[in-house]
C-alpha cells in the first residue's frame, strides 16, 4: 500500500469574528520610506498604516502636515467638524511608538480608524500636494475577519488529526490548469486547480472525526487545512482546504453507513476566495515610482505589495514577467524630434482600469491581466507561480518519461482542447474626430486580437502608424498600413475586418473575415469601459493625453481610446519601451495561446497514459524516451496522481513546433519604437 509513504494531516483553525487586541488597540505594521521626486529638502516620509481592533464608534483621520518650516505637529487636533485628527509632521515624522502613545494618551477615548474604500477620499493628506508617497497598502479592514487562510488574522490552532486511521478511500489528485467552457453560448476560459476527494470512517475512535468536523454545528469561523507530505522527508506534496460544503456523513443500514466524505480543494481556490473579496486599490493608495519620468511601478513589487500582499504567499514570477512595469496613466507619447514620427502608446493604465472597474476585485483584475498577456498561475506546494503559458517558459524543463513504465496508453488524433479554430482577445475601443488623422467612419469601434487560420490575423490593433511633428501632433496613416478591428457578429458568425489604407490620400479598404461562433474561443482580457484617454492632436486645448470618461463630444482633432488590461504593462529593452503591442507580436505571445489553437487541417496528437510512478511536478514538458512512435516533447493537458497505487494518469498533447505558429507572428520591423 503506497499510502503508508505519506502523511495526510488535517489541521483545524478558528478565526475570531471580532478581532480583539491582545495589547494595544492599535497596530502600526507598515512603514514605508522614500520620496524620490520630492525635492524641497524634507527628505523621507514615513507611511503609517493604522490597524484598529476596537468596535467603538468614533472617527480618526491621519493627517500629515507638509511644510518643513511650518511647525508640523505630532498631536491630535480637534477639527471644526468635531472630529479629532492626528496631525503628523512630515518633516519630523513621529516614530510608531510616538503615535501609539499619542493615541493612548490622547484622552479622546474611542476611535474608528478610517478605512480607505477606494472612493477617492484620501485618508492621509500632506502638504505640497504630494500624497502619492503615502499608501494604505493592505488594510485593517473587514477582510481580517474572513475565515480564510490568507486572511491577515492569524487563526487559532484547534488541533490536528492524522487521516491514516480513518481513510477508506482517497481520490486522485488532479491538476487541470485552465480549461474552456461555454458561457452564454460563447466559449471562454476558466481556471481550475487540483482537488482531491476523501472517504473516511466516521466510527473510528468513537466518532472523533464527526466531532472534529463538528458536523451539525455552525463552523463558519472554522477552517480545515489538508497537508499531504512525504513521510520520508516531510516534504510537502499538496496543500489544500476542506470544502466544508462538501462534508457529508450518510447513515444507512449498511457498511457504507457513517462514512464521512469530503472534498479537498487546492490552495488556489482558497487564495481565489480571499482575493475575490478584496477590491482593487485606489490609484492614490499605491506607492508609485518614477520610471522614465512617468509614474509606474515595477510589476513584481506591484503584485506583491498592492495585489497579493500576503505573508503566506511566496510569489514567484518568471523572469520575463518580473521585468514589466505597470503604468499609472495612459496616453500616446510622440517622440517629438522632427525627424522621428514614432510614438509610444499605452492604451490603458492602472488608473483607467481602476476607474472603469471600481467594483472589480483584485482577483478579477489579476486574471484579466493574465488572460491579456497569456500568463497562467498556479500553486505548487507553498509557491504561487506566475508564468507564460508557453511550454517554452522558464519554469518548464523537459522531463524524461520512460515508455517502459507505461501501464497503458491511448493515442488520439483530435483537436486541442475543445477544438477552437480561432481565439479572440478584446483590446478596447477607439473613437476619433475628423481631423485627428485617422478616419472615423471605418475605425470607430472595438479592437481585437485574433488567432486564426481562417483569414489574415495580423496583430496590429492601432489604427494609425505614426505621429506627425509640427504645430499639430496629428496621427498619420501611411500607405498600405493595415490593422485589425472588430466588425460585427450574430449568433452563428463572428466577423472582423482588416483595414488598409490603399493610398496616402485616405482611401480605405477593408476585407472581412467570417468565423463560426462555435469555433471561436473568446478571452476576456479586460477593459476600462468608458474610462478612456483622449489624445488631442491640436495640443492647443488640452494636454496631449487626458482622462475622458466617454467618447462623445470629441473635438475634430481628438482621438479617444481604451485598451485591455495588458496595455498597462511595459518594460524597457535596451532603453526602449516594449509595450503590449510589442508583446502581442512576439512568438511568446503566440505560443502562450497555442494550446487552444489549431487549424481545421492540422489536428493535434494526443495520448492518455497511465504511468507507473508518481510524477508530482505538474507543469512540465515530457520527453518520451524508449519509444520510436511517441518520441518527442509532449505538453500536459491534464495530470492526476493516484497516491494509493502510485500511478500517474496523464493527458499529453504533442508539442507544436514553433514554426507551426510562426505564421501568426508579424515581423516586428515596424515596431521598433523609440
Amino acid at each position: 500500500m503506497a499510502l503508508e509513504n505519506y502523511n495526510i494531516i488535517i489541521e483545524k483553525y478558528e478565526w475570531e469574528e471580532q478581532v480583539t487586541p491582545t495589547g494595544n488597540l492599535y497596530e502600526f505594521y507598515m512603514t514605508m520610506a522614500g520620496s524620490p521626486h520630492f525635492n524641497d529638502g524634507i527628505g523621507e516620509f514615513k507611511c503609517i498604516n493604522l490597524k484598529y481592533y476596537g468596535g467603538q464608534n468614533a472617527y480618526i483621520v491621519l493627517w500629515a502636515t507638509g511644510s518643513p518650516y511650518g511647525g508640523g505637529i505630532n498631536s491630535f487636533q480637534l477639527g471644526t467638524d468635531g472630529k479629532y485628527y492626528l496631525l503628523i509632521d512630515s518633516y519630523n515624522p513621529p516614530t510608531l511608538t510616538t503615535i501609539k502613545n499619542l493615541i493612548n494618551n490622547s484622552g479622546i477615548g474611542e476611535f474608528e480608524a478610517y478605512i480607505p474604500d477606494g472612493s477617492g477620499y484620501r485618508p492621509i493628506q500632506i502638504g505640497h500636494g504630494y500624497y502619492e508617497n503615502f499608501a494604505f497598502v493592505s488594510g485593517w479592514d473587514d477582510d481580517d475577519k474572513l475565515p480564510n487562510f490568507f486572511s491577515s488574522q492569524v487563526p487559532k490552532f484547534l488541533g490536528a488529526i492524522d487521516l491514516e486511521s480513518y481513510l477508506i478511500d482517497i481520490g486522485n489528485l488532479e491538476y487541470n490548469f485552465d480549461n474552456a467552457d461555454s458561457e452564454k453560448g460563447k466559449a471562454s476560459l476558466y481556471y481550475e486547480d487540483s482537488d482531491i476527494s476523501f472517504t473516511c470512517s466516521g466510527i473510528q475512535n468513537k466518532s472523533s472525526l464527526y466531532d472534529f468536523f463538528q458536523i451539525n454545528e455552525d463552523t463558519a469561523r472554522i477552517g480545515y487545512m489538508i497537508l499531504i507530505t512525504n513521510k520520508s522527508d516531510d516534504s510537502l506534496i499538496w496543500r489544500g482546504v476542506v470544502n466544508q460544503d462538501s462534508i457529508e456523513e450518510n447513515f444507512e443500514p449498511s457498511d457504507s453507513s457513517e462514512q464521512i466524505k469530503f472534498q479537498g480543494l487546492g490552495f488556489l481556490k482558497e487564495f481565489k476566495n480571499y482575493y475575490t473579496q478584496k477590491k482593487t486599490l485606489h490609484t492614490d493608495f499605491i506607492r508609485w515610482d518614477y520610471e522614465q519620468s512617468y509614474q509606474a511601478k515595477r510589476f513584481e513589487t506591484f503584485i506583491k505589495e498592492d495585489i497579493f500582499r500576503n505573508s503566506r504567499v511566496n510569489i514567484i514570477l518568471e523572469d520575463t514577467i518580473k521585468d514589466y512595469y505597470i503604468r499609472r496613466s495612459a496616453g500616446i507619447f510622440p517622440n517629438m524630434p522632427s525627424v522621428d514620427k514614432s510614438y509610444t502608446m499605452f492604451k490603458t493604465s492602472y488608473d483607467r482600469i481602476y476607474n472603469g472597474n471600481t467594483s472589480d476585485t483584485k482577483w478579477i483584475f489579476f486574471t484579466k491581466l493574465c488572460t491579456a498577456m497569456g500568463w497562467v498561475f498556479y500553486f505548487m506546494k507553498d509557491n504561487f507561480y506566475i508564468k507564460n503559458r508557453s511550454s517554452d517558459s522558464q519554469f518548464v524543463t523537459p522531463v524524461d518519461l520512460d515508455y517502459n513504465k507505461f501501464l497503458e496508453y491511448t493515442a488520439m488524433k483530435t483537436k486541442p482542447q475543445d477544438g477552437f479554430s480561432s481565439i479572440m482577445l478584446t483590446d478596447g475601443q477607439a473613437y476619433m474626430g475628423k481631423n485627428c488623422g485617422v478616419r472615423a467612419n471605418v475605425n470607430n469601434g472595438n479592437y481585437i486580437y485574433m488567432f486564426t487560420k481562417l483569414g489574415d490575423d495580423l496583430k496590429v490593433a492601432i489604427p494609425f502608424q505614426e505621429v506627425l511633428f509640427g504645430t499639430y501632433k496629428t496621427l498619420y496613416v501611411g500607405a498600405n498600413y493595415r490593422h485589425i478591428k472588430y466588425y460585427n457578429e450574430d449568433s452563428n458568425w463572428f466577423r472582423y475586418m482588416i483595414v488598409q489604407e490603399t493610398n496616402p490620400a485616405g482611401n480605405y479598404g477593408a476585407s472581412l473575415v467570417t468565423i463560426p461562433q462555435n469555433e471561436l474561443l473568446r478571452l476576456d482580457a479586460g477593459d476600462s469601459g468608458l474610462e478612456g484617454t483622449n489624445y488631442d492632436s491640436s495640443m492647443g486645448v488640452n494636454n496631449l493625453w487626458t482622462l475622458k470618461s466617454d467618447h462623445t463630444g470629441l473635438g475634430d482633432r481628438d482621438f479617444w481610446f481604451t485598451g485591455n488590461h495588458g496595455n498597462c504593462l511595459y518594460k524597457t529593452v535596451n532603453g526602449k519601451y516594449y509595450t503590449y503591442q510589442h508583446h502581442t507580436k512576439s512568438s511568446l505571445f503566440a505560443d502562450n495561446f497555442a494550446k487552444y489553437y489549431s487549424s481545421n487541417i492540422n489536428l493535434a496528437n494526443k495520448i492518455s497514459v497511465k504511468y507507473d510512478g508518481l510524477l508530482l511536478e505538474p507543469l512540465v514538458v515530457f520527453n518520451i524516451i524508449n519509444s520510436e512512435e511517441l518520441s518527442g516533447e509532449w505538453t500536459v493537458v491534464k495530470i492526476s496522481f493516484d497516491l494509493n497505487d502510485e500511478t500517474t494518469e496523464l493527458e499529453l498533447q504533442k508539442k507544436l513546433p514553433l514554426e507551426e505558429v510562426d505564421n501568426l507572428v508579424v515581423i516586428e520591423k515596424a515596431l521598433e519604437l523609440s
Partner: protein, 167 residues
Amino acid sequence: MSDYINGSSYPIFKIYNSSDVLVDTIALNLCDEKGLTETYEFIKITHDLLNYSIVQKVKGFHLNFELSYESWSKKEHSMKIARLFDYIINTNDYKFILTPRVDVLNRYFEVINVNDSLTINIMRNGLNAIGNKGINLQFKTKWLGTNLQWVDPTDLNIAIEDFVTLG
C-alpha cells in the same frame, strides 16, 4: 435453583391497539422438542480502511424468536395461532408484546412477524389425528436492543424495561 436462564415455560403474546390498550392475551403452548429458539442478530458497521485495519461499530441487535410447533399443535392451540395471525394480518395498527417464557414475566419484547409463510399440516391417522403439525412461528424484536436481557430466574425482581414500556 435452576441451571438455566431466561425461564422455561410457555410463551404469551399480549396484543395492544394503537392507543396502547390491551385487547387480547394469547398464551401458546410450550414449544415442541425444537423448542423456542432466541437468536441475537447483531447490527454493525464495518469499515475496511486503506491501511488494511478494520473498524467496527456494533449498534445493537435484533432478537429473533423461533417458536416451533412443527411436531404437534392441538386444535385449541392451532386456533390460538389463527387468532394471533388475525391480529397480525389485520390492517389495524396492533402492537405485539411477546413474553417468551411466562415464568420470567419481566422479560418481554415488542415483536414483529417475520414469517414469510405459514405452514400447517395434519398429523397422521386421518379422522383420528390428534392434531396438526408443521407450524413454525418467527418473530423479531421491533426495536434495536442494546442489552441482552438475560435473566437468572431465581432473581426475578430486577426490573428491565429496555425494549418497551407497557401502557
